[in-house]
């Protein structure tokens, strides 16, 4: 039964991916042919459909590159280039990954600390909570350059300013999730510990924390994806210091559509892998806590 479930998942996924690929090729033809036909007509070239087809799938600056073009670019910049080279996507992924992870770590810690404060102190809750939400309505891209400039003035350069922007995006889901989680204990459980006249620390470690763990992991998954977005956003204004964001920007700057898409694919895979890693950690802890898989 388990196996057949697995099989059908694979089948469903394969089918969807195939459907997506077909749509993609059709879309590429549709989007790119306009440009091409324009070009043919400007140059008064006679053209046939087969030529259009060939050209649409091999443009240098396509509106939508084909998956095989992206794959070729990926192959070139991942396997055909030394990892230490600045032309290697692995190198840039490493840069983005390090600020993502640092920012994620800082965001998770900040988020948890804020949540603990908010849950344990009414004044903090009332004064801070509305502004935690408001903070996320500030367009991060608008303040990213300022953060980088101001931090640069304080001699924080390179990794840290980017990580701080990641932190800004990732602390929020953690705070919200943890406030919910730390408040999730049953009234019954709270009263049970009260009958033992447990101390606040015991309330926290024996009850609040374990109850909040599932919430924590749910929000950590969101947070790590947000952290990646933060790192990439932070690489845009400092467009010359490497990273997937810089690749996106320079791709855009030089009209290298294929390069943009390659960076996007890597970013998506990176995001998926990071989320999956958090998920793995969650399952491991769940098993230890006896929660059914």
């Amino acid at each position: 039964m388990f196996k057949s479930l697995h099989k059908s998942q694979a089948a469903a996924l394969t089918l969807m991916v195939l459907a997506l690929l077909v749509l993609w090729y059709l879309g590429a033809l549709w989007l790119n042919s306009d440009l091409l036909i324009n070009g043919y007509e400007r140059r008064n070239i006679d053209w046939s459909f087969s030529q259009l087809l060939a050209d649409a799938y091999s443009m240098k600056r396509p509106l939508l590159p084909t998956p095989d073009q992206i794959a070729a670019e990926l192959y070139k910049s991942i396997f055909d280039t030394k990892i230490s080279s600045k032309r290697s996507l692995v190198y840039h992924t490493g840069i983005t990954l390090s600020s993502t992870l640092l920012g994620f770590l800082m965001g998770a810690v900040l988020g948890i600390v804020l949540a603990i404060g908010i849950v344990h102190n009414r004044t903090l809750e009332r004064s801070l909570m509305p502004w935690v939400i408001t903070s996320q309505t500030i367009p991060i891209l608008a303040i990213a350059p300022m953060i980088i400039v101001v931090l640069g003035a304080l001699n924080f350069t390179g990794l840290v300013p980017k990580a701080i922007i990641s932190m800004y995006l990732s602390f929020f889901p953690v705070t919200i999730g943890m406030v919910k989680g730390l408040r999730a204990p049953d009234k019954l459980h709270m009263e049970l510990l009260a009958t033992y006249s447990a101390k606040p620390g015991e309330f926290f470690w024996k009850l609040r924390w374990p109850t909040a763990l599932p919430y924590l992991f749910a929000s950590l998954k969101i947070a790590i994806a947000a952290s990646l977005v933060g790192a990439i956003v932070a690489e845009l204004p400092t467009g010359a210091q490497g990273g997937l964001g810089a690749r996106l920007l320079s791709g855009s700057y030089y009209g290298q559509t294929v390069q943009i898409w390659a960076a996007l694919v890597v970013a998506a895979v990176l995001g998926a892998v990071l989320v999956a890693l958090v998920g793995m950690m969650e399952r491991k802890i769940n098993r230890r806590m006896g929660i059914a898989a």
């Binding site: 459980h189 009263e191 049970l192 009260a194 009958t195 033992y196 009850l207 806590m289 006896g290 929660i291």
Partner: protein, 277 residues
């Protein structure tokens, strides 16, 4: 309504002090819940004394304040009027002194701990040594028939087994006073009978004081030295019945004429001012 304990007159000067220490002394206690719809008189002018070694059952229709009264004793709720003393101190001090164990209506086990781990929670908090913890937990899980289920998680057990685990948890630190809120409500009759007998045995052997909430008349009669019949709106004590049965009881006693008469007395006291709402 003004009713004092008629069987053990607390205020009577001739009572021999040594005979039974007063563990719970409630005087003219009232509790009003403020709600959106207006105040709810959950408890009204309660007078009640409970002595060491008593087994007192609260019985009464839904909403008559049984749970609330138990919670006041446990310092989970505070009265709005009147006074209560638990073991000569305030309920809060009694709680801080870890005088009592409380069994809730629902099992309330931590899903992230095994059955044994759950029973250890109070022991850990009380700072008991590891081996001692193990000994206590082994003993009481065995007692409630869960000797083979130490390592299971709560959700791997049926509701009845969970409830038994929660009883073991309350017993495990051997409190002097046991407060039990419909602990056997979720169990089937046979298991319930078995646990009733076990509880009676523990009570007899350890000379604990038990305050017990139940909906079942036979259960109340089988277990109690005193049956407190309560009635609702406002929650008050309708009658306190002292049991003539000896401390040693068996399930067969349920067929005895004294038992049936006592059950009938309780039933009548209950029916007296009951109406369906």
């Amino acid at each position: 309504m003004d009713m004092t304990v008629n069987t053990q007159p607390a205020s009577s000067p001739e009572r021999a002090k040594e005979e039974a220490r007063k563990i719970i002394a409630i005087e003219d206690l009232s509790l009003v819940f403020e709600t959106n719809d207006g105040p709810v008189n959950a408890l009204s002018h309660i007078d009640l004394d409970i002595h060491a070694g008593d087994f007192v059952s609260f019985i009464g229709p839904s909403g008559c304040g049984k749970t609330t009264l138990l919670r006041v004793i446990a310092d989970l709720e505070r009265q709005t009027e009147g006074s209560i003393q638990v073991d000569g101190t305030s309920p809060e001090d009694a709680r801080l002194n870890r005088l009592y164990g409380y069994v809730f209506q629902a099992p309330g086990l931590f899903p992230w701990r095994t059955i044994a781990g759950n029973c250890k929670v109070p022991l850990e908090i009380f700072g008991m040594s590891k081996e001692q913890q193990q000994r206590h937990v082994d003993k009481y899980l065995e007692l409630v028939g869960l000797g083979d289920f130490h390592k299971k998680f709560p959700w791997q057990l049926s509701g009845g087994m969970q409830q038994r685990a929660s009883i073991a948890r309350a017993l495990s630190f051997e409190p002097e006073l046991l407060l039990m809120d419909e602990p056997f409500g979720a169990l089937d009759e046979i298991t319930r009978d078995h646990l009733n007998l076990e509880l009676l045995k523990i009570w007899r052997e350890t000379r604990k004081t038990v305050v017990f909430v139940t909906h079942s008349i036979p259960e109340a009669v089988l277990l109690s030295t005193h049956i407190v019949v309560m009635s609702p709106r406002p929650g008050r004590i309708a009658k306190i019945i002292k049991s003539p049965l000896p401390r040693e009881r068996t399930l067969e006693d349920r067929e005895s004429p004294e038992f049936i008469a006592l059950a009938q007395e309780v039933r009548e006291a209950l029916a007296n001012d009951h109406r369906i709402n």
